[in-house]
Amino acid sequence: MGLSVSDRGKAVATFRYVHVELMETLAQWTPTCPEMEVKLMLGEHIWDAAQNADALGKRTRELRLPLQHSLKPVDAYVTLLEEIRQEPDTCRRLSGLYDAILPGLDARYHAYFEQTDALLDGPTVRILEQVRNTSARMIKQSRELRAELPAVGNVDHGWIETLKQRDSRIPTLVS
């Protein structure tokens, strides 16, 4: 049967909130990460996250919500994002975002595709496909950078697994 217009609007507005939050997180880390090459990668990804948010925000208007409308996700997810945003260590920042949060979001886009009518909700599907492609590139770039600069590539695997588990225990982002 697919999702209602209201359900789709809420999901899109919630994804938009997440991408604005990611943009701000990346922006906050840019002056506070010492490593030059990391800063330069974050600068590119700020723009990627902004474009994702912008595309989602244009779609909210088409789904009976205001233009560039955001909805705050469930508290557990907001807390997760906030904890990663406040993380001071570059290695943890990079692994937390690129190894846990972005792959977790990808799984949520996939779940959305399974629930929605891809024909009726084609514009959202197209936007999320683009977001997935962008996220895949961001993850790839971060892995290449960490391979190039081993000093920022140390991953605390236990911590990442904990983050992933916390993320996967949140059934939906929509509050």
Binding site: M23, Q28, T30, P34, M36, K39, A50, D54
Partner: protein, 274 residues
């Protein structure tokens, strides 16, 4: 914007400014022009030393400035979360542009045999701009003034590198200049919009510009100051005439361009109003 804490600021020559962004240990950050290491080889025209070391120094300084511009745009996104989405998109795009500029300059530096951290650097623009608690003042200082000035410098430097036979670097700087025009333009457009919506922001802009001028005066080297390379600081700089064509593209008015030309000593060619 949240009020700055004591940990966010530092004091340089008696003036409280925003504490510099994080840097790798390879960078030597200095607080005064006289601690930089520009050469002034007398074989070259004043301020236009293009010896091998100075070529790398110029690229290194520019690379670091572009990274600092990225950091300023990023910090502004963080400090003003409630500003219009359209303007936030401009700042986000600027972040990518400045990242690319810094990355291509790092690549060029490495092609020349140089490396990051090879020369001392300053946080002058960050120190001043990120001290401002209004977005309009930041746009006026960073985009309209500092980047506007960079447009003038880049036009001279494109020719400097071309005259030195380095077409690759000249072409690279031309590409950067093209992007910078838009950063200045969107600031000009938004300053007008913001002032129209709330004329009180003009006071913030004026306060910010006064602060910038005060810091610049206090930080300015004396004519006899000698830098870390043993060169008189005054001999390491050259005039950068107003880049009229690009300032027009960046939506400076004829009146504003006329005022800049007068400051350059070309007042006699500026048409009188009326």
């Amino acid at each position: 914007m949240q009020a700055l804490s004591a940990a966010d600021t530092t004091v340089i020559r008696g003036i409280t400014v925003r504490r510099g962004p994080a840097r790798e240990a390879c960078f030597t950050v200095v607080e005064e022009n006289s601690k930089l290491s520009f050469n002034a080889d007398p074989d070259f025209e004043k301020g236009k030393d293009m010896s091998e070391g100075m070529r790398r120094n110029r690229i290194h300084t520019h690379m670091h400035n572009e990274m600092q511009n990225l950091e300023i745009a990023a910090q502004t996104l963080v400090d003003f979360p409630d500003t219009s989405w359209e303007l936030r998109m401009e700042l986000a795009r600027q972040c990518w542009d400045e990242s690319r500029h810094s990355a291509v300059l790092l690549r060029r530096l490495q092609e020349m045999g140089g490396h990051k951290g090879e020369f001392p650097v300053m946080h002058y623009e960050w120190n001043i701009t990120c001290m401002q608690d209004s977005l309009a003042a930041r746009l006026a200082i960073q985009n309209r003034t500092f980047e506007g000035g960079e447009m003038d410098i880049l036009k001279v430097h494109v020719q400097l590198w071309r005259d030195a036979g380095d077409e690759a670097t000249a072409a690279l700087l031309e590409g950067i200049l093209s992007d910078e025009i838009h950063h200045v333009r969107f600031a000009n457009v938004w300053l007008k919009r913001l002032a129209k919506d709330d004329p009180r922001i003009l006071l913030k802009v004026l306060t910010g510009i006064s602060f910038m001028k005060w810091v610049s005066t206090v930080f300015a080297p004396t004519p006899e100051d000698v830098n870390a390379s043993g060169a008189r600081v005054a001999d390491t700089v050259h005039p950068n005439p107003t880049n009229v064509e690009d300032r027009r593209l960046a939506e400076f008015t004829d009146q504003e361009i006329g005022e800049l030309l007068r400051q350059d000593g070309f007042g006699h060619i500026v048409p009188r109003p009326g």
